[in-house]
């Protein structure tokens, strides 16, 4: 691989790492404001390492839902990473500890970087470089955000309860570029609010997940 390509990949990986690090600041802050300890917040970024799922877990807990409803929502949001794995499996090592290690890095950013390259060695280099940059800065950002929020007396005064919906909106927006996802998003919002008074907190999300799965399966037959 030539050194210009290598330098280009490293530069892009650092750029993505810095952007996700900034986004991790808000995760650390929201998680701490939701009532998770510093160690629990950092454990999520080290061990779960997939942004939308982490935001969902702490969002559900922060809104008074059980951690299990949050965990189920996080896992459902993590299902897309399995599809990324399918696209990456021909590019990465198929066996042994390297595959087990690579799996932890299978996220939106590393997939986008790896599949954009021209050859298998370049894809692998892009995958591991982006994974390392994002992992380092994501965890650093989480720690700083959590420590800063830990020092605050009352996070609600600072509008921290309005932060999670904005975070979910920013994650959702890039997925709404066609009519169908926009319609699904609006329907999901309405269904969740209609169910909300009658079921435990967090459960409306699971109802929405079941309904969208039924819709997706029914539509794919045609």
């Amino acid at each position: 691989m030539d050194s210009t390509v290598r330098r280009g990949v490293i530069r892009d990986a650092l750029g993505i790492g810095i952007a996700t690090g900034a986004y991790a600041l808000s995760f650390g802050a929201i998680s701490t404001a939701a009532g998770l300890s510093l160690l629990q917040t950092c454990a999520l970024s080290v061990l779960m390492f997939t942004g939308a799922s982490q935001f969902a877990l702490v969002g559900v807990v922060g809104a008074g839902g059980s951690v299990w409803a949050g965990a189920a929502t996080a896992a459902l949001l993590g299902s897309r990473n399995a599809l990324y794995g399918v696209r990456l499996s021909s590019l990465l090592d198929r066996t042994g500890w390297k595959r087990a290690a690579a799996a932890h890095f299978v996220i939106d950013e590393t997939t986008a970087m790896a599949i954009a390259r021209e050859s298998v060695p370049e894809s692998r280099f892009a995958f591991w470089t982006t994974g390392a940059a994002v992992f380092t800065l994501w965890n650093l950002g989480t720690l700083i955000g959590a420590l800063a929020t830990h020092a605050l007396p009352d996070p609600k005064v600072l509008g921290f309860d309005a932060a999670p919906p904005a975070a979910f909106l920013a994650l959702l927006a890039p997925r709404l570029r066609a009519r169908e996802p926009l319609a699904i998003a609006l329907a999901a919002g309405v269904v969740a609010l209609v169910c909300l008074p009658f079921v435990p907190p967090g459960v409306p999300l699971l109802i929405v997940a079941v309904l969208v799965a039924i819709y997706g399966i029914a539509r794919s037959g045609r």
């Binding site: 952007a19 808000s26 998770l36 454990a43 061990l47 779960m48 390492f49 799922s53 877990l57 809104a63 951690v67 299990w68 965990a71 996080a74 896992a75 459902l76 949001l77 993590g78 299902s79 897309r80 990473n81 399995a82 599809l83 794995g85 399918v86 499996s89 595959r99 087990a100 799996a103 932890h104 005064v157 509008g159 309860d161 309005a162 932060a163 999670p164 919906p165 904005a166 979910f168 909106l169 920013a170 994650l171 959702l172 997925r175 996802p181 699904i184 998003a185 329907a187 999901a188 969740a192 609010l193 909300l196 008074p197 907190p201 999300l205 997940a209 309904l211 997706g216 399966i217 794919s220």
Partner: protein, 99 residues
Amino acid sequence: MMWAGVLVACAACYALKLAGLSLPASVLQDARVQRTVPLVPVALLAALVATQTFSTGHHLVVDVRTTALIVAIGMVFLRAPFLVVVASAAATAALLRLL
């Protein structure tokens, strides 16, 4: 209890990532899976936006978070970075509570 939920969720998310790299491609290339899985985050994120903006416990409410969401939507339209979207929503809620 919180720790148990956190660790189980982490294990589940890792298992999904590993499954993608390990399962035979035919399983995950099934048309129903390919069609349905990308819709799940759209529906869940939208439901999260709705419930976390318009409810407190079991009650539907319209409060400063509604204004904060409108500001966040404006920021998304302006293609503001993630942190700016989140911070402007939080700042809007904080300011309205001060008034």
